[in-house]
């Protein structure tokens, strides 16, 4: 079946089996392999992309449900030589090792910072009536849907904190 997708500002006309997840559409049909498959079951976050600005697990949704949606993948955030602030900070703070969870971490963090700016509380927010403050605990909590077996968590927290505090503009 045919689905019209807008990915990183570009239009794609996808002709695929209706069972195709958004993740497999990206990886198998559009050769946008920056988005990773770690579990295919919504358990790891490696497949995180932004749909209309919000982070989702692309393995848990079918491509055909996204006709007309604006999708941003890691490829849309920055490329070598023109990295986004978060991408640069991940390099500087070594927020990755094998790099496999990394695109998902960075997409997730990109949306997460917007969620905090919009005042969304989390499980560890002290007072849900106040604007949340981006503490280390807040970052760790909000990034816990993105697993990293290389276990770069402390560096991921540092990288995100650096960008939140205005580094890597």
């Amino acid at each position: 079946m045919r689905t019209d997708l807008s990915i990183n500002g570009e239009h794609f006309s996808l002709e695929a089996d209706p069972r195709t997840t958004l993740l497999d559409a990206l990886r198998h049909h559009l050769h946008l392999t920056g988005t990773k498959k770690g579990c295919d079951h919504g358990q790891c976050g490696a497949c995180t992309v932004l749909v209309n600005g919000r982070r989702i697990n692309s393995c848990l949704t079918l491509a055909c449900m996204h006709d007309g949606d604006a999708i941003t993948t890691i490829e849309g955030l920055g490329v070598p030589g023109q990295l986004s602030p978060l991408q640069e900070a991940f390099v500087e703070f070594d927020g990755y090792q094998c790099g496999y969870c990394t695109p998902g971490q960075i997409c997730s963090a990109t949306a997460m910072l917007d969620e905090v700016k919009a005042g969304w509380p989390s499980h560890v927010t002290e007072d849900v009536n106040d604007m949340p403050k981006l503490t280390e605990a807040e970052i760790a909590e909000r990034m816990s849907g993105n697993l990293c077996r290389c276990a770069c968590y402390p560096n991921i927290v540092d990288a995100i904190m650096d960008v939140a505090e205005g580094g890597h503009k």
Partner: protein, 731 residues
């Protein structure tokens, strides 16, 4: 040309310290970073290949049996299905690290629940997956198939025993003794990239893009599994999404993809599902460990016993070497190590990050904590009193041993003196607070390795080796070694990895990759330096190379001028020699952890954790620290959440994915601190560097579980320390 170097004598020259580029050891950003953070790095299943077909493996649903038929009728007419394969070349199990020949093969003889028995190949992944679910396998079960290592009808073999002195007598005569049994469950590597391969034939030549750690061996294993000469096989793995042991040997997906691609005359991709990674690759064996410690009034050890039971499939050789570090970590003249191997029909047991020490040192360090309490001694002091001058089992000197420095420095930095001294006595609101510590130790190894270094006439450097970077930092450290030795800025160095067409190395495993392949690069660079020195007529040792220039007698000459249009191309070859055997070689460290245990729920949170390590020269402060963070985080997982659970009837893995097997998430891990001591180990290799990829897990979990004891007075001897085990004993 090739330059061969055999490492027989300690290298006291410390050449890297005499160079001028000032990049070795620095916190240099990974050159592969921009590709990884932008999603451009190409992992195994991500190569754009024309006419690619997709294969999905099908698992056996019994512990022991024979495959009678595949029941193909149900799927052969399905849309998009191209072929269904099985056969005696399918792997029964993946190869172990450095196996170098085909592992056990054969799809018809089923040895464990989950064993891959067929591959469905289709035009799309969706069609292949659908058909794979609908194969009507006909299987005749056979038995008996014991799945519990400790059950009375399970076969257990004594596979190793060594003893020295008389441990029984030492125990009988000791002022203080500990005789405890601990259990650790199985673990899964759970690398984030599932095993994957794309196979492509060109005539009788096979190219496999795979996710493997040791390409030199994997090539031979794959060729042998297919029954073709190794020269016909090329494996590419420039980026590998984590391994931790699970990708040491050729595995199901590689062989099945190659067989299918040959059969259908098209390239085939096979990617394991996360459930298949858990059920069909490898597990760390569960263990039952009995530790006996005999000590005098003053806590000085007179005897150590370490008896353990681990398991594997029938006919498999690997037994987790639980007591690998027990012979040399602490003093004591009476010693005994006994290894028993239970034969069970659970998936293959093999290497998972730091096989042996990961669980063996952990339990030994728990027992030391118990001894410290009995003797009435600070746990740090107990360890300091028991650091031997020489390896007490062999009498060999240590190549270097800075355990004492790690302990003392760590205790000071952590504020160990301010710890809670009475178990269960520090409470803040709902939370009981406690501190624990443990030593770290991991054996150090060196292996044959080759690497090519080419200096172009323009002064650019290319490094080529089949070594892999599985997140370990190989791209960074090889670039730094060449940069330092040749005085070339890293931007002008390209490091190419993960291709069996390049000179072979031992790969990533056993923490030996950086030292071995790094030395091969060093050897090649030394030869290039000699050639340059000759051209400018100085002794090589007087040659200063920096920023693309040679400096001699106050002259600064650009390299292109010296090279005069001629490239220098050298393959360095390392052969480990007498130095390796002449000394006991290991890396050391100390962990300190602070936990809060909820007095109502029994939940444990790690609040602080520090690791201090000594591993010879640190080649890159940033990537080495990250490796330690990773290892320590695995220690948190081992302590609190990670456990493979097998069904008691057929051994199948109940928690076969990331929702049920709980690896630590970001919120489980505090901002861990890591300190790396400055050290040179002349006996390790000419870099004076030792492996660091596994050290961080070797005992880490013990510091957390010892901290739980300190917080609550509850001694958990059955890993992991989940809240149900803590709750019952809370004050």
């Amino acid at each position: 040309m090739n330059i061969r170097f055999k490492f027989d004598e300690p290298d006291t020259r410390h050449r890297l310290d005499q160079m001028s580029q000032d990049i070795i050891g620095k916190a240099f950003d990974r050159p592969d970073g921009p590709m990884k953070v932008s999603g451009q790095a190409t992992y195994a299943a991500e190569w754009e290949v024309d006419r690619l077909a997709h294969g999905v493996l099908v698992r056996a649903p019994v512990a022991r049996g024979r495959l009678k038929s595949l029941g193909i009728e149900a799927v052969s007419a399905m849309d998009g299905v191209i072929a269904v394969l099985t056969g005696e070349r399918f792997l029964r199990v993946p190869a172990q690290g450095t196996e170098n020949t085909a592992p056990h093969q054969g799809a018809s003889d089923i040895y464990y629940h989950g064993q891959p028995v067929a591959l469905v190949v289709a035009e799309t992944f969706e069609a292949a997956r659908h058909a794979a679910h609908h194969l009507a396998l006909e299987i005749e079960t056979s038995g008996p198939a014991p799945v519990d290592p400790e059950a009375s009808d399970t076969v257990r073999e004594e596979t190793d025993r060594s003893s020295q002195g008389d441990l029984d007598r030492a125990m009988a005569e000791a002022a203080h003794t500990v005789d405890v049994t601990y259990r650790t469950p199985g673990h899964n590597s759970a690398a984030m990239e599932p095993h994957a391969a794309i196979a492509q034939w060109d005539g009788d030549e096979l190219t496999l893009r795979g996710a493997y750690q040791m390409l030199k061996f994997n090539r031979n294993e794959l060729a042998d599994s297919l029954g073709i000469p190794a020269e016909k096989v090329r494996i590419l793995a420039p980026y590998v999404g984590g391994g931790f042991g699970s990708k040491l040997g050729i595995s199901h997906e590689g062989v099945a993809a190659a067989l299918a691609a040959r059969e259908i005359g098209r390239p085939v991709s096979v990617v394991l599902s996360r459930q298949q990674v858990f059920e069909t690759t490898i597990r760390r064996s569960e263990s039952r460990q009995r530790i006996r410690l005999a000590a005098g009034e003053d806590g000085r050890l007179t005897g150590i016993g370490h008896e353990y039971l681990v398991s594997n499939l029938p006919e498999e050789d690997f037994a987790e070497p639980v007591a690998q570090a027990t012979p040399f970590l602490y003093a004591g003249e009476h010693r005994e190590v006994v290894e028993e191997l239970a034969r069970v029909h659970r998936l293959l047991a093999g290497s998972v990050r730091a096989p042996g020490e990961a669980i063996g040192v952990t339990v030994l360090e728990n027992a030391m904590d118990e001894l410290a309490e009995k003797v009435g001694l600070d746990p740090v002091e107990l360890r300091l009193r028991n650091i031997p001058d020489v390896d007490p089992s062999s009498g060999k000197p240590y190549s270097s041993n800075r355990l004492a420095d790690c302990l003392v420095h760590g205790a000071e930095r952590f504020g160990w003196d301010n710890r809670n001294k009475e178990p269960g006595s520090e409470r803040h609101g709902e939370w009981l607070i406690g501190q624990g510590m443990a030593s770290a130790v991991r054996v150090n190894m060196l292996a044959p390795a080759e690497a090519r270094v080419r200096l172009s006439p323009e002064g650019d450097v290319t490094i080529e080796t089949d070594m892999t970077d599985i997140g370990t930092g190989t791209y960074a450290i090889l670039t730094q070694i060449a940069s330092e030795m040749l005085g070339i800025v890293p931007d002008r160095i390209e490091t190419r990895l993960g291709d069996t067409d390049f000179p072979p190395g031992p790969g990533s495993g056993g923490s030996w990759g950086a030292a071995s392949t790094g030395t091969a690069v060093f050897i090649a660079c030394e030869e290039i330096r000699r050639r340059i020195a000759k051209r400018v007529a100085v002794a090589e040792t007087d040659l200063t190379l920096v920023d693309g220039h040679a400096i001699t007698d106050n002259r600064k000459i650009p390299l292109p001028e010296i090279l005069a249009g001629v490239a220098i191309d050298v393959v360095g070859e390392l052969e480990p020699g007498k130095a390796q055997k002449a000394r006991r070689q290991a890396t050391y460290g100390a962990y300190f952890a602070e936990v809060a245990v909820n007095a109502v729920t029994g939940e444990t949170r790690v609040r602080r954790m520090l690791g201090v390590f000594s591993a010879g020269r640190i080649l890159n402060a940033k990537t080495a620290r990250s490796q330690c963070l990773g290892g320590m985080t695995w220690g948190i997982g081992m302590a609190l959440t990670e456990a493979l659970v097998h069904d008691a009837r057929d051994g199948h893995l109940i928690n076969h994915d990331l929702a049920e097997y709980h690896i630590p998430v970001n919120a489980d891990v505090p901002q861990i601190e890591v300190d790396l001591l400055d050290e040179r180990d002349d006996w390790a290799n000419p870099l004076q560097a030792k492996g660091i990829g596994e050290l961080g897990i070797c005992g880490a979990a013990a510091s957390v579980v010892n901290a739980i004891y300190n917080a609550t007075g509850v001694r958990v001897r059955d890993y992991p320390a989940t809240l149900d085990k803590v709750l019952a004993g809370l004050p």
